[in-house]
C-alpha cells in the first residue's frame, strides 16, 4: 500500500454539524424579504434605492476598515449586507440617501469593525448607526439643508403619511383599522409597512432555529402587559414603532444578546420595560432602538448573573469545604 499518503490531520471532533455563520445571515436576509416587498409596493423605487445605498455603504465600509486595520475583508459572512439592510429598513422611505449612508457607515465602521469585527461588538451595529443619526440630528438638519439639492426621490414618496400609528396614539388621533394595520400600512419606518410580513419572517427564523422564542416573546409580552396596565392599546403598541422588527431581528442578534435562555428572558423583559417607559412616560418614538441598545450594554452582566451550575454541581459546593475559624493562626516551619 502506498506509504506516502497525504492525510488531513486535525484535532477532534472529526465531524461538523455544517452550520455556517453565513447561512444564518442569509436566512435573516431572506426573512426580511416579505416586509421589504410590501414596502416596495407602497413606496415604489425609493425602497430598493435606499437599501442599495445602505448595502453598498456597508460593504465598502467593511472593506475600508478592515484594510485600515490590516485584516482580510470578510464579506462572505454576509453580515455587512445584513447590517446595511437592517439600517435601511429602520428608516422611513423619505429619508435622504446620504443620511442612511452615514448611519450605515457608523454602524459597520465604528459599531462593528472598529471594535474588532463581527463577534466582538457590544452593541447591535444597525441600531447603533440608526440611533447615532438621531442623536446628531440637530447637526444633521443643518446638513440636510446644505445638501438639499442632492436629494434623490422617486415617485411614490409623496403619498407617505408622516404620522405613524404610534404618534397618532400619542396625539390622540383616531387610529387606523386594526386589521389593515396588521396586514399592511404606510407610515413610519420601511419595516413598519407590514406587521404580518415581519411575523412571517420571524416564524421562518424560528423554524430555521436561528432564534428561539425567548427574546421576542418576553419582550412583546412585557410591552403588551405594561401598556395595558397603563391604560393604552396594547395591540397597537405591539404592531407599531418598530417593535416587531426589534423583537425578531434586532434584540435576537446573537452577538449582542445573552447566551443562555434564562438570560435571554431577563433581557427581553428589561427591553420591554424600557420600551414602555419611553413610549408611555417619555413619549419619543424610537423607544425600541434605545431600549435594545441600553440592554446590549448589560449583556455581559446578565451572562455572569445567570451563569448556570455545572453538571453535578450543587449550590453549597461553591462554599469552600475547608473552612477555618476566623483568627486561626498558621505556623510556618522553616
Amino acid at each position: 500500500m502506498e506509504r506516502n499518503l497525504s492525510l488531513l490531520v486535525s484535532t477532534s471532533p472529526h465531524l461538523h454539524a455544517g452550520d455556517q455563520v453565513a447561512t444564518a445571515m442569509k436566512d435573516v436576509i431572506i426573512a426580511l424579504m416579505p416586509v421589504t416587498l410590501v414596502a416596495c409596493y407602497f413606496f415604489k423605487f425609493n425602497v430598493p434605492f435606499l437599501i442599495m445605498v445602505c448595502i453598498l455603504t456597508a460593504m465598502f465600509t467593511e472593506v475600508l476598515f478592515r484594510r485600515l486595520m490590516q485584516k482580510e475583508p470578510q464579506l462572505s459572512d454576509c453580515s455587512a449586507i445584513l447590517t446595511g439592510l437592517l439600517v435601511a429598513l429602520s428608516f422611513s422611505a423619505a429619508t435622504p440617501w446620504w443620511l442612511a449612508a452615514a448611519a450605515t457607515f457608523i454602524a459597520v465602521g465604528f459599531a462593528k469593525e472598529f471594535l474588532g469585527g463581527l463577534g466582538w461588538n457590544r452593541f447591535n451595529p444597525a441600531l447603533f448607526g440608526r440611533v447615532s443619526v438621531i442623536v446628531f440630528a440637530p447637526w444633521l438638519t443643518y446638513l440636510n439643508n446644505e445638501f438639499f439639492y442632492w436629494r434623490v426621490s422617486f415617485p411614490g414618496i409623496d403619498t407617505i403619511t408622516q404620522a405613524t400609528p404610534l404618534t397618532m396614539l400619542q396625539m390622540g388621533l383616531p387610529l387606523p383599522n386594526m386589521g389593515t394595520f396588521f396586514i399592511a400600512t404606510q407610515g413610519g419606518g420601511i419595516a413598519e409597512s407590514s406587521a404580518f410580513a415581519l411575523l412571517l419572517g420571524g416564524a421562518y427564523l424560528l423554524y430555521r432555529k436561528h432564534i428561539t422564542w425567548h427574546i421576542p416573546v418576553s419582550m412583546m409580552a412585557t410591552v403588551f402587559i405594561g401598556t395595558a396596565l397603563l391604560g393604552q392599546h396594547p395591540v397597537y403598541h405591539l404592531l407599531s414603532g418598530g417593535l416587531l422588527l426589534g423583537a425578531f431581528y434586532m434584540a435576537t442578534d446573537w452577538v449582542t444578546s445573552p447566551i443562555t435562555k434564562k438570560g435571554q428572558i431577563i433581557f427581553g423583559v428589561c427591553i420591554g420595560i424600557i420600551v414602555v417607559i419611553f413610549r408611555v412616560l417619555l413619549a419619543p418614538t424610537e423607544g425600541v432602538a434605545f431600549a435594545i441598545l441600553i440592554m446590549n450594554a448589560f449583556v455581559p452582566l446578565i451572562d455572569r448573573l445567570t451563569k448556570r451550575l455545572k453538571f453535578g454541581e450543587q449550590k453549597e459546593q461553591v462554599i469552600s469545604q475547608h473552612t477555618v475559624p476566623a483568627g486561626t493562626k498558621m505556623t510556618v516551619k522553616n
Binding site: M1, S10, H14, L15, D19, F311
Partner: protein, 428 residues
Amino acid sequence: MVKTFERGISIPDYKELTENMPIQDLPQPSELIIPLRQHIGAPNRRLVSVGERVKAGQIIGDSDASVSAPVHAGLSGIVREIGSRLTQTGQLEDCVVIEVDPEQEELTCTADDATKLNKDEIVQRIRAAGIVGMGGAGFPTHIKIKPQTKVEYLILNGCECEPYLTCDHRLMLEYADEMIAGARILSHLLDDAKVIFGIEVNKQDAIDLVRAKLEKEERMEVVPLDVKYPQGAEKQLIYAAVGRSVPPGKLPAEVGVVVQNVATAKAVADAVIYRKPLTERIVTLTGSAAVQPGNYRVVIGTTLAHLLESTGGLKQDVAKIIMGGPMTGWAQKNLEAPIIKGCGGVIALTRDQAVAAQEYYACVRCGKCVDHCPMALYPSYIGMYAELGRYDLAQEWGAKDCFECGICAYVCPSHRPLIEFIRQSKRA
C-alpha cells in the same frame, strides 16, 4: 419513555455501514508493535530484551505501581526492537516490536471453576490479564472495582454513542454470555451491586437478546437509553440510568456507581474463567474510504497498515484516517500506529466526508455550544478567553470540567477550534 441525560445532541450515526457485519478474524500480521503503556497510570517496565523469543500470552511489560496494568504479546515471535514508536494519539511511546512466527502454536485455555476463587484471587487474575477500560479511557479495571465507598450499581456501558462504531454492538450480540458472565464476576467483587446494562435503542437486537438472557436474573436488568451523544460518557450514562449526578472532580464510586464497558466485562470473564490475557479486541473498520468495512478481531499491536492491507486497502480519494471514534479520536498522519486495548475503531474518510481544520472566525455568540454542552459549561467563553490568553477566566467558565466530548466544536458555526482552546486552558 427511554431514559437519557440533559443537553447533548443527536448526530447522524453512520452505523449502517457495519452494524450487521459479524465479527471476522484478520489474517495474522507479520509484526506487532506493542506500546508498553496502554493505560492511565504508571508506565510499565519492559520485561523482555531484543532478540528474545516470546510466547503468545507472555507478559512483556509490567510495573510495581498499583495504578498500572501489564501488557502481553498476543502472538509468539522474536523481539526485534524496543524503542519509541508513533502511537494513535500522535505521541511517541516505548514499544516492543515483535517479528511474529508465521506458524503459531494453537493456544488453548481451559475453564476453571471460578466460583472457588476468593475475591483477591479474582482481582489478581484481572490485573494479570492486563485489563483496562476498553471504551477508550484505559483506566486499569482492577483498581476501578476496589472503590473506597459502597457501590450499589454496576452499569455496563453498551451505549456506543460515537457515530460509526459498532464493535460493542457486535460484541453484545455475539458474546452476550461471556459479557454477562463478566458482569456477574464484577458485581460479585462489588459486594453484589445491582447490574444495569445501558444500551441505546438503536441497538434493539442487542437489547432484546440481553433481556432474554437476563430473564431469570433478579439483580440484573437492561435499561434502554435514548440515542444521543454522549450517552456513553460516564457521568451522562449514570445520570440517565440511575438518576444520580456525579459532582465535578468526583468519581462515580462516590455516588455509589461503577461503570464498565461491555467489552471490558467480556475480557474480565476471559481473564477470570480462562486466565486469558487481554491480547485482542474487536475493532470496527469503517468510513467512506474503507474498502471492506466490518468488525474485525484484531491482535493488540497490529498496525494500521496491516489492518488496512488485509481488508482490501483504501479507496483512492482517502483524505483522513481516524483511530477511535469520530468525535474524540485522533487523525493519523500515516499508517504506523498500532491498535491498542482502548481503540474501538478505524475510520477512513474520503475527501467529501472529511472535515479539515479550516479558517475560523470570532465567536458570534450563537449559543449553540452552550445549549448542547453535556457538562453545562460555557465553551464560548472558554474559547474567547483562551484566545485572549486569559486562561484564569477560561477556567472560571469551566475549562477544567470539560471531558472533550467535542460537541461544542461540532456545532460551532464559526468553526472555532474549541477543543484546542480548552486543552490550552486546562494546561495553563
